[in-house]
């Protein structure tokens, strides 16, 4: 059965799984395997010791190689970096800073801005804690010198319905290949006379955050009523799994809308290799098997005019943590979504625990899952037209008639029962849609999530508006 397993001795049915013990037998300090001189500071991959300097080179090279390999980000392109304050997106921000400041021809050439979404309300933070996180984040962002946007998740309730429709794809210059674009850009720079310093040729000055442009000034929290509405939306969700999915959806829609209105054609998000592997299995469990490639791949172009790219997807969480520690990358960690004691953990947490546990004893687990994910193609995920596109995740509707019939009656039954018991404080007004009317607009996994969301009255206005437009 498991003859091919190698050193571990198979599935370990008779003995426990072999622990990869680096034990007292080894002498320390060990030397770096790359330069052979420096004293090793960490172990990468399965057993490669690296010194700090070689590790730094390796880390920075990986970022440039990832962008270079994919050749998707054109010179001069406006890119929005999605910063959560967590370790991965913070490391990503640092790599962009490092990449832009290089003197050599290998300098990164796009124009970055940063967006941060304060999710403190749904993460159980008090007003004071949210103010503090925002203040720390603003200091951090001002120090980068990039334009930045401080947003609040509450603003997702004010999104337009158009965010659920892909925008038109505009190619900057028709027929221009990546190579031609780079050469053209270099020519342009030379003609400009290049008297200016490398960094900030086309970047606005420091502290020029557009944060004052939005309805909220930086560090001021949204109106209490809006926060209450957001909390009502989350509290009505029945399971932690659906809460996580809802949070991710609101966040990405808010970020994409910011990108769209401010003219950014790319959004960079910080997902590590570890996170990608966890997401692959989680999304499989959520019924998103057909969309794994678009959900976890390097590029995600389901929204048309704005493309999401994931440049950190080859970094293990461990590499990120060590890099941030060695090179003082600032982070602002937000608390996890609160769960009640009686709730079972979300599928996301269960898969995370499973994979990290497995990784301890079988250190190729994460990378193997990641590499397998790389082989998936995103063709099946693209929807051909609006009637074939999921309302919430914008992927292709992947259901035939039969499953619809199975799910719809259960929703109708739930709604009728609620009405009979008089639970609904606002009985659906004439013309207001029933939850079951949404089902034909959703893909399989969004239907499962949707079923666990609260009543239609709690849903964000943009979702309801777009649904109503499509139903009629």
């Amino acid at each position: 059965m498991c003859e091919a397993a190698g050193d571990d001795g198979g599935c370990g049915a008779d003995v426990g799984p072999a622990r990869r013990r680096r034990g007292a037998g080894r002498s320390y300090p060990r030397t770096c395997m790359k330069c052979g001189q420096g004293s090793a500071a960490l172990v990468i991959r399965v057993g490669d010791p690296f010194c700090r300097n070689c590790f730094r080179e390796y880390f920075m090279h990986k970022f440039r190689a990832m962008l270079g390999k994919n050749r998707i980000i054109f010179p001069g392109e406006k890119v929005l970096l999605a910063l959560s304050g967590g370790p991965v997106s913070s490391a990503m921000l640092r790599q962009v800073q490092e990449g832009l400041s290089r003197e050599t021809a290998k300098k990164l050439r796009f124009i970055p801005s940063v967006v941060y979404v304060d999710e403190g309300a749904v993460r159980g933070q008090s007003l004071a804690q949210r103010e503090q996180s925002l203040a720390r984040m603003e200091t951090l962002l001002q120090a980068t010198g990039f334009p930045y946007y401080l947003m609040h998740l509450e603003q997702a309730l004010e999104l337009p319905a158009s965010i659920l429709r892909p925008g038109p794809v505009t190619s900057s210059e028709p027929g221009l290949s990546y190579k031609e674009a780079v050469e053209g850009f270099i020519q342009q720079q030379r003609q400009k006379g290049n008297g200016d310093k490398d960094s900030g040729t086309s970047l606005p000055g420091p502290g020029s955050g557009d944060s004052a442009e939005g309805p909220l000034a930086a560090s001021r929290l949204p109106a209490a009523a809006l926060t209450q509405e957001l909390l009502k939306l989350f509290e009505a969700v029945e399971t932690p799994t659906a809460k996580e999915e809802l949070l991710q959806m609101l966040r990405i829609h808010l970020i994409l809308q910011t990108a769209r209105t401010k003219g950014y054609t790319k959004v960079m998000t910080g997902e590590s290799c570890t996170r990608v592997a966890i997401k692959l299995l989680t999304n499989l469990a959520l019924g998103r098997g057909a969309f794994l490639a678009i959900d976890t791949g390097f590029k995600d172009n389901r929204h048309g005019d704005v493309m999401v790219v994931r440049p950190m997807r080859e970094y293990m969480a461990k590499e990120i943590a060590f890099y941030n520690h060695f090179f003082d990358v600032p982070t602002v960690i937000a608390p996890p979504l609160p769960t009640k004691r009686r709730d079972k953990p979300s599928i996301h947490r269960v898969v995370e625990r499973f994979l990290l546990g497995l990784q301890e004893d079988f250190p190729s687990t994460i990378s193997t899952i990641y590499r397998t994910g790389e082989k998936l193609s995103s063709d099946r995920a693209k929807a051909t037209c609006e009637s074939q596109r999921c309302l919430l995740c914008l992927c292709a509707l992947d259901l035939d008639g039969e499953e619809e019939l199975a799910l719809e009656p259960t929703l109708i039954m739930d709604e009728l029962e609620l009405e009979r018991n008089g639970c609904c404080q606002d009985p659906p007004a004439a013309g207001a849609e029933r939850k079951s009317a949404y089902i034909p607009l959703l893909c399989y996994s969004c239907r499962l999530t949707f079923k666990e969301l609260g009543p239609v009255t709690t849903l964000p206005p943009y979702v309801r508006a777009e649904a109503q437009r499509r139903i009629h």
């Binding site: 680096r22 320390y28 520690h325």
Partner: protein, 101 residues
Amino acid sequence: MAAPVSLQVEFGGGAELLFDGVKKHQVTLPCQPEPWDIRNLLQWIKQNLLKERPELFMQGESVRPGILVLINDADWELMGELDYKLQDQDNVLFISTLHGG
């Protein structure tokens, strides 16, 4: 007999949330017959520093998967992991990589 050992124990990456939000702790481990190693340091932390939910920090006799351990700024894998014998003035840092972003 092991002399009392003075250490700086630090938490990062969100792990500090389990320790009242305090990132740096100066600790002095008492005298005891066996020499102090990471294994029994973890037990000591569980009994003396952990305010809540020990299962979020430890699993069995080791740290929970997803929590990195650095001894004097080096990967504990290079130092013998749980078997590393603590020296006076060592620095032990625990970084959580869970719920990352």
